[in-house]
């Protein structure tokens, strides 16, 4: 047999074994990975925050006898946390008495329409989604 033919034959044999070994390595690796994976039940935990209570509103302006437009009070307040998505304002005709919703805002200031030109108490609370914070202390207007 000539040398080139011997080389050719040897190359063919080597190629065949290379293919076989490569395949075995791939199959073995896949089976090993599958064998080491294991799953089980568990419990993850997370905690919800709480809406903070706004500071007592500060009365910027009160129009108690405002003609046909009715009495109004302009207030602003501080919120001791990153701003929630909104605030709801309330009025009451007696200090710490029953309150009536007086509108919403997404900022920390608002002009509220008062029910009368008599002394009215304004308060505010934070809102986000269905969450409602505690009402702030009241500020008197008129």
């Amino acid at each position: 047999m000539s040398a080139p033919r011997v080389v050719f034959a040897a190359a063919m044999v080597a190629a065949a074994w290379t293919t076989v070994i490569t395949g075995l390595v791939a199959v073995g690796a896949a089976k090993a990975e599958a064998a080491w994976l294991k799953s089980g039940p568990g419990t993850g935990y997370a905690v919800a925050g709480k809406l903070q209570t706004p500071d007592q509103p500060i009365l910027d302006d009160a129009k108690c006898n405002n003609g046909g437009s009715g009495p109004t009070a302009t207030v602003h307040w501080n919120y001791p946390a990153p701003l929630p998505s909104g605030f709801e304002l309330f009025t009451a005709t007696s200090k710490n008495g029953p309150v009536t919703s007086a509108g919403t805002t997404t900022t920390t200031s608002a002009t509220v329409v008062l029910p009368s030109n008599k002394t009215t108490y304004v308060s505010v609370r934070a809102t986000t989604g269905a969450w409602r914070g505690s009402r702030s202390p009241e500020v008197a207007a008129c």
């Binding site: 047999m1 000539s2 033919r5 050719f8 034959a9 063919m12 044999v13 065949a16 074994w17 293919t19 076989v20 395949g23 075995l24 199959v27 073995g28 089976k31 090993a32 990975e33 599958a34 064998a35 080491w36 994976l37 294991k38 799953s39 089980g40 039940p41 568990g42 419990t43 993850g44 935990y45 997370a46 905690v47 919800a48 925050g49 709480k50 809406l51 929630p84 998505s85 986000t128 989604g129 269905a130 969450w131 409602r132």
Partner: protein
Amino acid sequence: MKNPTLRRVLVVTTVVGATLGGGIAVAAWTSSGSGTAGAKAGTAAAPTATALLASAFTSGLLYPGGPAGDAKIVVNNPNPYPVKVTSIVANGTPTGSGGTGTCTTTGVAWVAQSPATGNSVPANGNTTLTLSGAVTLSAASDDGCQGALFAIPVTVTVSS
């Protein structure tokens, strides 16, 4: 060898014979490897988890419609070799407790996790994983869920 035809026959016979021999070897090796892998899978124990308290959280709190918050999970490894947590996916309905009121509709959703760092669990030990952005809270979350601790059923997968 001076006969060309005979030489060709010998060459072809050699190549074919070697290839067939390789094939026989493949069958023998595949059988052996498969049996060993199966035995290892049978002895591995599943990971477990331990309860946490709300006081474990100082940041990453959840707000309705707000950014995704942090989740924590304690993974116990009952095996005598270290493992790594490769995935944590939701596996049930979250519940809320300890809030300011009734928390039936939690609004909690788990974001599938594939931790790449800090996910090693020592042999016969445990690790607390803190997963940033793993939980979201929808605007439908009940008002009474404020301050609640949410327990979220998950499936933990580990690999060695």
